[in-house]
Symmetry: C2
């Protein structure tokens, strides 16, 4: 596999906080980063050697960008297939197109996960009313109707709690390819952040436990309140998924855990560094951002152990203005993403508490 | 004191590895950095939001730079007085001009240190042959003749081991204001990296022990092999110096320690983040770079304790190419400054080992 040596150039599609933190980690290892993003106000531009402001459909700009770097990666899973194709023609793209294909379509993703021997919620594809009725007969309720592509934070989704809720589904999916997904009873949500290098080495971070508020991640706590057996099983599942995808880079696998039965169901995969891995910056021996750079550059993967009990909390909107509180706390590490406008619900930064005594 | 809130703009004079690591630390707190440096190939440009390529004597460029930022700082002590003056007219300059005045002139520095009640090597100023002879009569040998200003890494210096060495001094100093400095017997060199915030809070890092090879820092080890009493005394001395300068930012104080007598002599001060403080990035609770940013922005200073036994080693020239070795070592943190040309003796990066078991 091609090794990309420190001092080389790394291209990153996407200029948000994930691209920003990737660029910062890459810089510590001596890489020069080039950010490609259509948004003039991308926070990643401020920590990178070069940037291109252009749409993801601008093929000339994409080619020029890709030619100028030694390897390219991305910070978001909705990179259009054509964008990935062009970049891959001109440079090494890691992770590759397969990770995008699988994670962009809920049906393909669930079929793939089941083919890996990993359990998901029950699901059934539909497009028409007739297919929906058949799917409902199989899946029942409670369940959730979701379009197959490009949904996030609860958009393009409808909960089916009562029989009559089915009548509203076609208004939401508008005839787009969709799935009806059965409801899973679970006690906690966990995520496994796992890295696989270009040479095929795999390393998983300790499992984190996530709490969401209003569909947005609020906190990740490490260690998760799960048994050693569940922890080990979850890591094995994530590793199996990464290997089956011949994945290169860091990915996150979100899972639901039932305490009683010990059952683990995979909710979704994100082919990128992930909010639920931010705790690793100070809380683990290697950060997920450096690990991603090591993986895509085919450097040795770093150690992954946690430095103690770690809690990461997102700072949304005006939460970011409480910097005095966090900077006065000797256990807290305050991160500000350099975004100007602290509007409600926007991810503006995060804070991580590392308690090495526990 | 004026607080510079996260999200504001920080200007940095100097674009080397110190400016680079300052910019990276500032970015994590959400600051946008603007680097001013005459060198087109400055490694700090690659991690900053803005940069200006201009000479330090270019007053228009300096004014424009200074006007565009909320606070300015520097990564090297030889900032010309006029440069500092212009920047200070247009924005807040921290540390201030006094730190530069004192550290740029060996005579002023030693007079100042003695006025703080801190011991230095014996010294005597001279310019002419006659004054040199008088100085020699007082200081004796072994001793070192040094020009007062702009010497570094042994340049502009001559060792006086024998009586006849005096005859060569005027050829080296060329009539420039100079000092003859007595030789100090010591067992180890230590440095104290200390921060003083705009509000006057002071925090010293644990004392590091330095080993130089060919006048260039090779390693810094924490803890230093000194008693608790010496450690405490050294910190008190550094604190006294920072307070006497009404210093704002991080500074390093280099000292010589005699094990037998326990005597501590201050060698020199550096009004900036310092190579002997690089170990703090992973080895201390707060890095010297973040601490400098906190100090100049008048944020609360961070905790300074070490995370274990720490060793920092500079990677000079082609040492930087051994990345596989360091990245394969689970206790090692490899830093590459992004410089292209690994010529002999050039500081290309460093590696830090943190051993939390000790």
């Amino acid at each position: 596999m091609t090794q990309i040596k420190p001092g080389s150039k790394i291209g990153i599609l996407g200029g948000g906080q994930l691209g920003r933190m990737l660029a910062m980690a890459a810089s510590q290892l001596g890489y020069r980063c080039h950010i490609f993003c259509p948004d003039v106000r991308s926070p990643a531009f401020h920590v990178a050697a070069d940037f291109t402001i252009a749409e993801y459909g601008n093929e000339d700009a994409l080619r020029e960008f890709a030619e100028s770097v030694d390897v390219a990666t991305y910070e978001f899973e909705n990179v259009p297939a054509r964008t990935a194709e062009i970049v891959a023609q001109e440079t090494i793209l890691r992770p590759g197109a397969k990770a995008l294909e699988v994670s962009q379509d809920r049906l393909v993703e669930k079929d793939f996960l089941n083919s890996c021997g990993v359990k998901t919620a029950p699901y059934k594809a539909f497009e028409t009313q007739e297919q929906l009725d058949a799917a409902y007969k199989e899946i029942g309720r409670p369940s959730v109707a979701k379009t197959r592509r490009f949904g996030y934070d609860g958009k393009g989704q409808l909960m089916i709690k009562a029989r009559k809720d089915i009548d509203g589904v076609m208004d939401v999916t508008k005839g787009a390819p969709s799935i009806l997904e059965g409801f899973v009873n679970f006690d906690r949500e966990i995520s496994v952040v796992v890295a696989r290098s270009a040479s095929g080495d795999v390393a998983a971070f300790p499992v984190g436990e996530n709490v969401h508020t209003n569909h947005i991640l609020d906190t990740t706590t490490v260690p998760a309140q799960i048994s050693e057996v569940i922890e080990a099983k979850a890591k094995v599942m994530a590793t199996r998924i990464a290997n089956a995808l011949e994945y290169v880079g860091v990915m996150a696998v979100e899972m639901f855990v039932s305490d009683g039965s010990g059952e683990i169901v995979v909710n979704e995969i994100a082919p990128r560094v992930h909010n639920s891995g931010h705790w690793t910056i100070e809380g683990a021996a290697t950060s997920q951002f450096e690990q991603h750079i090591r993986a895509i550059c085919d450097l040795p993967l770093g150690p992954t152990e946690a430095r103690g009990k770690v809690v990461m909390k997102n700072l949304l909107g005006k939460d970011i203005l409480d910097f005095e509180t966090y900077l006065s706390d000797p256990k807290a590490y305050y991160h500000h993403y350099g975004k100007q406008d602290p509007r409600d619900g926007r991810k503006m930064g995060h804070v991580t508490w590392v308690n090495t005594d526990e």
